[in-house]
Amino acid sequence: MPERIRHAPLDMGKATFPKAKIQLIKDQCKGCGFCIRFCPQKVLEESQEINARGVHPPKIVDESKCLACGFCTAVCPDFAIFIIEKPSKEDVKNG
């Protein structure tokens, strides 16, 4: 079906997305960049800031894109990032 889609889904309003509040413990970050590299939604980016360990910790670009997969928490070797899930009904832009 190579048809072009020209109308937005009518039930978009009913869609639910898992949401999360991302918690960064900046001074605990050692700047490995794993979370930035592996986040599938490209939520994180390196900041210009310099933290207590003398490296650039990540910064949150667009929290609304986060789908609460929790992978950043899983890959962070220094437990510097974790998420708090909060179910929400809001619309989210999807990649």
């Binding site: 079906m1 109308h7 009518l10 599938p40 997969c69 992978f71």
Partner: protein, 814 residues
Amino acid sequence: MGAEEKEKTNPREDDGEIRIGVYVCHCGLNIAGSVDCGEVAKFAATLPHVVWAQDNRYTCSDQGQEQIKKDIKEHKLNRVVVASCSPRLHEPTFRKTCEDAGLNKYLFEMANIREHCSWVHLYDRQSATEKAKDLVKMAVAKAARLQSAKEIEVPIIRKALVIGGGVAGIQAALDLADTGYKVYLVEKEPSIGGMMARIDKTFPTMDCSICILAPKMSDVGHHPNIELLANSEVTDVKGYIGNFHVKILKRPRFVKNDCSACGECSKVCPVIAPNKFDAGLAIRHAIYTPFAQAVPSTYIIDMNLCLNKDGVTVCDKCMKACERQAIDFEMKPETVEIDVGTIIVAIGADVFDPSSLQNYGYGKYLNVITSLEFERLINAGGPSGGHLIRPSDLEIPRRVAFIQCVGSRSDKSGRLYCSNVCCMNTIKDSLLIKEHWPETEIHVFYVDIRAYGKGFEDLYKRARKEGVLFIRGLPAEIVEDRKTHNLWLVGENTLQKELYKVNVDMAILSVGLEPRKDSEPIQRLLTLSRTQDGFFMEAHPKLRPVDAATGGIFFAGCAESPKDIKDSVTQASAAAARAGILMAKGKVTVEAITPIFYPERCKVCGLCAKVCPYNAIVLNKELKRVELVKAACGGCGTCAAECPFDALTQDHFTDEQIISQIDAVTESDADKKIVAFCCNWCAYAGADFAGVSRMQYPPSVRIIRTMCSGRVAPKFVERAFARGAAAVLVAGCHPGDCHYINANYQTQKRVERLWKKMEQQGLDKERLQLLWASAAEGERFASKIREMNRLVEKVSPEEINNAKKVFEKALGGD
């Protein structure tokens, strides 16, 4: 298999005195109307070897055939020539007649004096008669050199491949499987069902579409004889009728067959996208099933969307949710190889995208939708649960308009043909609305309502009775009221000759069907041709409507032309029957038009092996010889044209035979004639089509038929010029459409070489023309002849002589 001598089946016929019988058919007035058949027969009697010549009203009638049989015995005929219609039509008939009388069928030859003569020179009886004589002379000359031959038999693999799992493909697969054949059904989407699965009710019966389709779909899923390959595509096809070797790419679903379709995974998947099956009007998740009744029911992960798309398992929500542990992110694409004897093509059609019609504002105005979107909108399984709502505010529209012929019947904004289903579809849709929301005001803007099928007129009348307003005249434009998103339709009521301005809440564009945009690989792999409309072309529009020109391949459903479900199913069953007949026979004879090899002349240069599109000639470097695999040979003859040492020729199209035809044409008045070499499948068929359509062109052309333009050796062209022909035409299929994969690339190369030579020798290279014309392009052929005729009138005697001198060598051997 190395050197192979030509088999002689019946030496009596070939050796000794040649006795030719010639029959000139009147075809009622079809030929006799513009050709003096009696005179042609008289002329034929004077030709060498002709011992019997007569004209008759219908040679193809029983009577006519009996006459031939009688004469073969009575006059000891050992060659028969019939001058009548196209060999593409009646050659098999007369060959059978000869066989019945004990004459090898390869000793029969035809002169096409109807499609190539009487019908295209309707108003010039004298020239038409002269041309008919020439055509008979050519046929007699070739007949004298014909040799009997035995056809080889190839076994047919008793398995079939069906490409496309719409209703047509489903029906064809089930019919064949029920007959007892193994069937592979390849569908490129995750589920079979096609268009029919997406529509709500079906006209004219108003059955629920998926309710009648779903049982068939599930039969396919469970049938022991059917192997369903969904989410898959055919990537390669090799071989020939009865013996196709097919490669299929099976894309991974990332969900194993253990899936019980519980849907728990989908619920937890955090990613969504518009569902294509719902025309984007509803959402789905990255792990999904396109619709509830999908077959196979196994879920699928859309890897472009899944959070794990980069190969790292970031998200495992679905995995955790799946009790049966069916999810497998490690799945890889697989290539499946199968061997089948027959193939049914049922890839359906696309719907027209009306975005290009700016005056209708599709894509710009929210409440302008297509009929396909409407089907999803009113479908209980669709995004609105079957409630008719309009996109702008999700309210029930009170006034609705349908606009017909969007993308159909127009050269400029869509396709030239009528799409067959849109009128009835609109009538059906209007009744559906009336059924649930009887107060809705419905306007249908149309040009003609085509209610041609069984039960269609009744449905149309019902719609009128229910109060649907039919207005003749299409809106010139749709304009949106910004505030309300209501639409103004402005047009002319052409029956009242009055302008209308109609205000509605929603407008539905009744879009047409068009050929699949992505069907090019299928066309190429199976060497199919298309009509001008772009749909696949059948072998004969009336008598072989489901056969492709390529042996062993059949069509079903909208792939062949726009049609409704009933016709798709009928055609599918027909295709299954046709394929079944072949497989029941278990074997097929291959025409004896394979190469004849003279090993003593071969210098093992290997050029033939290089040009053979079927790899039927192999250069064995170790043994220093070329080897011929006749069963693999497609019969194009391009090897024979390539061999510089005359070590190869083609059976039934030998050098000697073709040269005799050239010589017959150029015996008299060569300087006023065009010698045309036309390939059987495209150019010759195109010339036939010009005849059928009565397109008139000058009578100066004489067509010599070869199976492929790749058979045309440069020496043939040179010989024609050497004997004083005014012009030569080499005509074949469009590049890419060649019936023999790509043999016509060689044609192009050879003609280019000849052009170069002509230029170097100071000859006008315009006198040699190359034409690509499909079987549907009669007008292209006719206008080429008109153009070349102007050239013929201009060519001076000096130029003719110069060419004679330049190509003198080609006469060698005389």
